[in-house]
Amino acid sequence: MPIELDPEERELRTLLELLPNLHCARVVEVGCGDGRLTRRYAQSAASVLAFDPDEAAIAAFRSEPLPDRVEVRTDAVDRIDIPPSSADVVLLSWAL
């Protein structure tokens, strides 16, 4: 069996506790990696733009059908073009 990541979904539950109005939020996720967390919360958000500079991780993300209203890009936080004052939520996802 593959490694199971947070099967208790503590991370998702914490996110939903902190963002009770996520359902109407336009989310920008920085450092989405292979989309592990994105896929868990995306159906609760109005839309998601998720990006990561790691091409392999983004390829892994795209290897499965993307959830509705999710856009994925290979990009970096210092290069990506995002309109000012356009996001309800910016999620810095383990982006150390």
Binding site: I3, E11, R13, V89, V90, W94
Partner: protein, 138 residues
């Protein structure tokens, strides 16, 4: 990292929020257990560079809070667990996914022995993490 936080602030609507998810400690723990009973078998080996990166990221967050670019509204802690069927599987997973961090040979052997001694026990890696909600100040 400060620059990155400043950029994200520009993307946010005035009433938007930044959610920051990060590990609380640099060194995750290897545990085995059944139900609610867990035993720490060891910790991962983390190189100095990762400790430095972790410290720099925390410093960047402190900096933007000190400068009142953001205000901390709420913070929660949680445990992020990765379950593996064997010590070797966990070791390989870490080697593939993480930089500057590894499950060393001695800890791997000790973990395998501990699992063999406790039939039915599960193995997991525990990362203590924090999730913070921050409001941009304009």
């Amino acid at each position: 990292m400060v620059d990155a936080l400043c950029r994200t602030r520009g993307w946010l609507k005035p009433d938007g929020r930044l959610i920051d998810v990060r590990p609380l400690h640099t060194v995750p723990e290897v545990e085995i257990g059944t139900g609610d009973q867990a035993t720490v078998v060891g910790v991962l080996t983390v190189e100095a560079e990762r400790h430095e990166r972790h410290a720099a990221a925390n410093s960047a967050l402190d900096d933007v809070l000190d400068r009142r670019l953001f205000v901390l509204e709420e913070s929660r802690e949680f445990a992020f667990l990765r379950y593996a069927d064997s010590a070797e599987e966990l070791r390989d997973h870490i080697a593939q996914r993480w930089r500057q961090t590894r499950l060393d040979g001695a800890t791997c052997l000790r973990t395998a022995a501990a699992l063999a001694d406790r039939p039915g026990a599960r193995l997991w890696l525990r990362e203590r993490a924090a999730m913070r909600r921050l409001k941009p100040e304009h």
